[in-house]
Symmetry: C2
Subunit: 600 residues, 2 copies
Amino acid sequence: MGNKYLSERNLKFLLYEVGQAQQLCQLPFFADHDRESFDMMLGTALRISDQLLYPAFRDLDLNPPELVEGQVRVRPVVRQLLEQAGEGGWLSATFSYEHQGMQLPVMINTACLFAFASANFSASAYLGLTTGAAHLILSFGEEKLQETYVPNMLAGRWQGTMALTEPQAGSSLSDVAVTATPTDQGHYLISGQKVFISAGDHDAVENVVHLMLARIKGAPAGVKGISLFVVPKLRPEGDKLVPNDLNTAGLFHKLGYRGCPIVQLAMGEAGDCHGWLVGEPHKGLAYMFQMMNEARISVGKQATAVASGAYYASLQYAQERPQGRPIAAKDPTQPQVPIIEHADVKRMLLFQRAVVDGSLALLLQCAKYADLEAHGEGEQKEASHLLLELLTPVAKSFPSEMGILSTSAGLQILGGYGYTDEFSSEQYFRDVRIHPIHEGTTGIQGMDLLGRKVSMQGGQGLKLFAEELARDIQAASQVPELAEYGRRLQGSLERLSAITQAKLKLAAAGDVAVFLCDATLYLELFGLVAVAWQWLKQGVAAAQALAGGVGESDEAFYQGKLATMRYFFHYELPKTQGLAHRLGESDGLTARLDARLFAD
Amino acid sequence: MGNKYLSERNLKFLLYEVGQAQQLCQLPFFADHDRESFDMMLGTALRISDQLLYPAFRDLDLNPPELVEGQVRVRPVVRQLLEQAGEGGWLSATFSYEHQGMQLPVMINTACLFAFASANFSASAYLGLTTGAAHLILSFGEEKLQETYVPNMLAGRWQGTMALTEPQAGSSLSDVAVTATPTDQGHYLISGQKVFISAGDHDAVENVVHLMLARIKGAPAGVKGISLFVVPKLRPEGDKLVPNDLNTAGLFHKLGYRGCPIVQLAMGEAGDCHGWLVGEPHKGLAYMFQMMNEARISVGKQATAVASGAYYASLQYAQERPQGRPIAAKDPTQPQVPIIEHADVKRMLLFQRAVVDGSLALLLQCAKYADLEAHGEGEQKEASHLLLELLTPVAKSFPSEMGILSTSAGLQILGGYGYTDEFSSEQYFRDVRIHPIHEGTTGIQGMDLLGRKVSMQGGQGLKLFAEELARDIQAASQVPELAEYGRRLQGSLERLSAITQAKLKLAAAGDVAVFLCDATLYLELFGLVAVAWQWLKQGVAAAQALAGGVGESDEAFYQGKLATMRYFFHYELPKTQGLAHRLGESDGLTARLDARLFAD
């Protein structure tokens, strides 16, 4: 392909050499799979990415959805993608056979969806929403709901969404105000507004199925009164689909992520919007967390994918663009060198690559935990569950936040050209900016991590995390050139543990506001440690491969891995020092600050 | 005004209470001025900003320049601004009386231009380019050139530009290839292309005057063969302006900064593009550095101004938008609180304010050095020169790089709305991204600082910088609540000094590539120390004011200053720890890395 946006070599290195995905085939659920079937799926994903998705990357940005007479119109490529995804079984790949799935490990599926998203993030977003919504109906919905909705969704004919946010309640789900009034006909009457609903309406599908949070009349206030409903745009009546009094009230014009419509929905303006309860009343938020957790990992993956596209774009530019001369040999009569020869350009490229490969490794690690949680046994199952719970906010936020900085570094490498639309860097910079916002802002992820996850089950998740790291630090200690990096990771882990204990003491003392006020910094610190861990793992795998003897091209690949690992430990991990310094203070500056002091 | 984009109270605090601008009136050059005349200028600038510039902020973004039949068209507000700027004397405010100036201190002028840029960065950019270009002709051009060009430029009828960049030579000025062939008629014939020329063509003026770098036929290779020319779009012949064979070959479509056209120029396609030499042959780059240094400070100011607009936009939103409840009182039956009450939102607002006020203080400090350098005497004049030289890369880069992060924080505060064009946050995020690129990338500023500035005159600039800080640390030690912050600054300064000495040893040992490979990190470290210094100065001024007794509104202002100072010392300055850690290593990872290892 002319333009590269990911590395297949790297994907396979992370899946098989680092992540040992092939081990999953030993579990009964995955017994029909092997490395060959994994590679076949991956190969198909790469083909769709190259042939269908990447060619539409700029087109979807330049021609965003339009709202025409109440109907959102999108580009034809969206329909093609959804049809191919339906036919190819992509929307249910990880589902069980009984649910029309392929029982593909989430780990392999994540790699495939990463390929889609790195080729065209906006287009790929349609898929995950349908899969997550269908999974939610399958997990908690009655059989009738499953039969009515899921097959059409998995065929790519009906779009799924998650409909949480309301104009007056963005991050504050306790304030969800859409109402559901029971009727004696099995359905509820839904009324109210939702905003920022991704893929919430478009003409590439016959119908849109919203998995919507609403409050049954008389329900308790707060999150304990929220229920989950299926609310379709068109409702099935007999053999027909009829309008369900659910209208697209607006379409947002966005900085990036322009290929996917984000809409405002109005339900029940004519008093005739039907919704069907999923599971039991008032338990909607707990159900929705299944989809939200999947979506959070998915956001991390998408952010990493955008960062991947940006990395390969700036790498290509840096390899091809001559400018300037080596710092120690500035003879102006000599030809200019490609800018990749300049130290500061190499630093920025290493930063981009460190973010991309480090984040992707962490996401595949989480995906493997998801597989082991769902289909493993005993201790491993439970441990994987806790590790995934712990790491979900990290895997969502590190790539999202670092995605801003790494796409920005990519744009910087192109200089003035990076600021223009003649290259793709500026689109990546715009596209990636959504990720720290949707599916729970970074601030919310920080509070989830420090306020809930590190102390769940008496801190068991954090203990397991430390054990995972200890195992890999031990492995690194056996490799002379890596032992030093193992020690650095060990030091950072100890720093993280000490900070955690100190923070939890504040919580125990009842000072919740001060305990949580720097949760975002804590999340950043945690992310650096987690990604350093993933880099150490990659370093060990690369060193082992090199020790076994490899050809020239593999030699460059593995040496490049080791160089990028060193970059992460020398340039990124030291940021934990300043973070730990601040987190070690407990003055509660932001918790205690009188908001009136911003006055002027 | 309905929308606020700067704080007049803050500008005056920084000018008079921190920066002691009134001291400048003791210099003979500024003897006609006093606080009253300063405030009058500032008042006028604020009025123009409010009435003309801010109302066009979104309009210029939504309606970028168009290239129609070889002519760039811009919105009418540009002509209005240039006319007002000409009539009001804004384009020559700092010039001497003999050059139609007002002998206004650069410090006051910087505050005024900051107001323009915070109201509308794109529009404000036209002005500084004309001023800088006119200043260059006045400084180095012959009388005839001055008479022909300067009055028209200062009247706002002719646009000035700086024309350095070429397609094959962006940051690498030694590769400038536009040629100048001498004629026997006093002019040269210019031939070649320039790219990325800001305000390089537009229809709000009669003519455009390019201050252009070119190479006289037979000149030495490299920067020692570059000469400076005046190359107008239309050349004066008798009473007429005739086309000068200088055409607009293209218009770039940009991520932001859309109100100002950035063009590609083609000179001499018909062999008839006249240019007039400024000063002596082959000394063009040295002359151009006058304009470049002014432009670098100006970029820092513009970045700060955009960050200021973004800060006040997110502050207003945070004050008005209800969502969620205090962390320790989450009763869902209670009303929601404005999001400014949440610790993480306060943290982001403090970050934005710390960047804006800290950068602005540094820029006004530099502006004062510029005034003392130009119009002071003896030791103070020389010291100011060295301090300005030293701090120019810092004052350019800190606001530019932090501008990305602080406008991003602003966008984050608005959540999903921040990602849409319903609010201005996304425009600020796009607009600010140009600043680390133009007028010398951040990488180039880092090499300028570490490679040239810290060692100039035997390290005299750095020594003077340390003395400036020592004086303010001493002042802080007299204020009980500030003494601790003085010690923190002292510690950071010592860290910076130690790193500097270690790096210079590498240089002395001849390892230039390793010496400079982390210059960008060094620049970041230096910026944190310099801005911490400016925050300590603000803290001292605020504490002194509070000690004297103030009213309620001033009390909130000064307490807000102290809180923001504390934020900077607790959250930003600790970043020096990780940076110093890395800068203390000398493995030269990026200098030595084989670029082929990026292969895969």
